[in-house]
Amino acid sequence: MHREWFEPVLAHQLDRVAAPEELWERVRNPRVVRKTGVHTSVNAARVGACATVVLVAIWLFVGHRGFRSGDAGEIRGWVKAQAGIDVPLRARPAGVQLMGANFAKGSVEIAYSVGGRDGRLRVDGRHAGSSARVFTWSMDGHTYTLECATPEDLKIACNLCHIG
């Protein structure tokens, strides 16, 4: 088969690399704070530190709070502590992998995946229209919005709080 001149360049420059050792720690304990693996100069470190301070300030200013966990109990407790809403998540929702939660501007978002595709459960006071991929309902004075990549995922995502 004919090969273009740049194909060996691509194969060489895009070659597989070794994963950093800290990856296992991040998988084993998803809440571990990310460390940068790049050797930076002193100036780059200073710029990075300044940027971090600015980002943290912006983050605090807009009121975003996030939590990463795959554990339903931890997420439920965190959401209750942050937003005062008790979302009745099941301990082991079949076919659904919990990823974490966010709380911003009075709205809670619980992130999950179904078959490797991302979805989210939003709980707030706003009403969002339902569609084949989005389902909205009200409970205990809160509006729940379940959003998935496909209509089939939506059915599985119901397992977050319900059996079967």
Partner: protein, 187 residues
């Protein structure tokens, strides 16, 4: 198809055996991280994507069926995580790590390292400017060395679509990498 060792490890993972998951992780970590790095062009983003991919594997492995190819299943998870990460607007930018490292090095090989880093940075930056669909095909083809029909299975499209995306990507890359033609010689 799975060989008997892989099958045993996956079945143990499905029973919740954490040692088996570590074995699975060790076997596939470089593959997962490399796709994430070559797609995102950013080591920090690659770590996020790789972490999220393995968490998805951990969560979804009870539903994995042995008759399906594990590697294709894993590739699909990584590909979807890369695309989701970009859709969520997370940081993706060319990899500058080697360039910074070369600049901060104090040895006789600084110039050589700088040139090497520059070529890699060029390639990574140019690949990063491809559309997400074209970039993913390029990564699966050149980082993983996959055949068109394998890429098609992972992306859920036809081999013809893969060939077409790769062809369009080749034309763009050939034009944008033309300044390297003399530099790389018969590489």
């Amino acid at each position: 198809m799975l060989d008997s060792n892989d099958r045993e490890v996956i079945e143990a993972c499905q029973r919740g055996d954490s040692d088996a998951f570590r074995v699975l992780f060790e076997a596939h970590k470089d593959r997962v991280y490399s796709i994430a790095l070559r797609y995102s062009g950013d080591p920090a983003a690659a770590m996020d994507i790789a972490q999220e991919s393995f968490l998805k594997v951990l969560g979804a492995i009870p539903e994995f069926r042995a008759e399906a190819g594990f590697e294709s299943w894993l590739y699909r998870i990584v590909v979807n995580t890369c695309l989701d990460y970009q859709r969520r607007g997370r940081r993706m930018m060319p990899c500058l790590g080697e360039l910074i490292e070369a600049v901060s090095a104090h040895s006789e090989t600084v110039l050589h390292r700088l040139m090497r880093a520059e070529v890699q940075d060029d390639v990574q930056r140019i690949v990063a400017r491809l559309s997400p669909e074209q970039r993913m095909v390029v990564v699966l083809r050149y980082t993983e060395g996959l055949a068109y029909d394998e890429i098609a299975r992972i992306l859920g499209c036809s081999a013809g679509t893969v060939a077409s995306r790769l062809n369009r990507a080749h034309k763009i890359l050939e034009r944008r990498l033309s300044h390297l033609r003399g530099a790389v010689g018969n590489a």
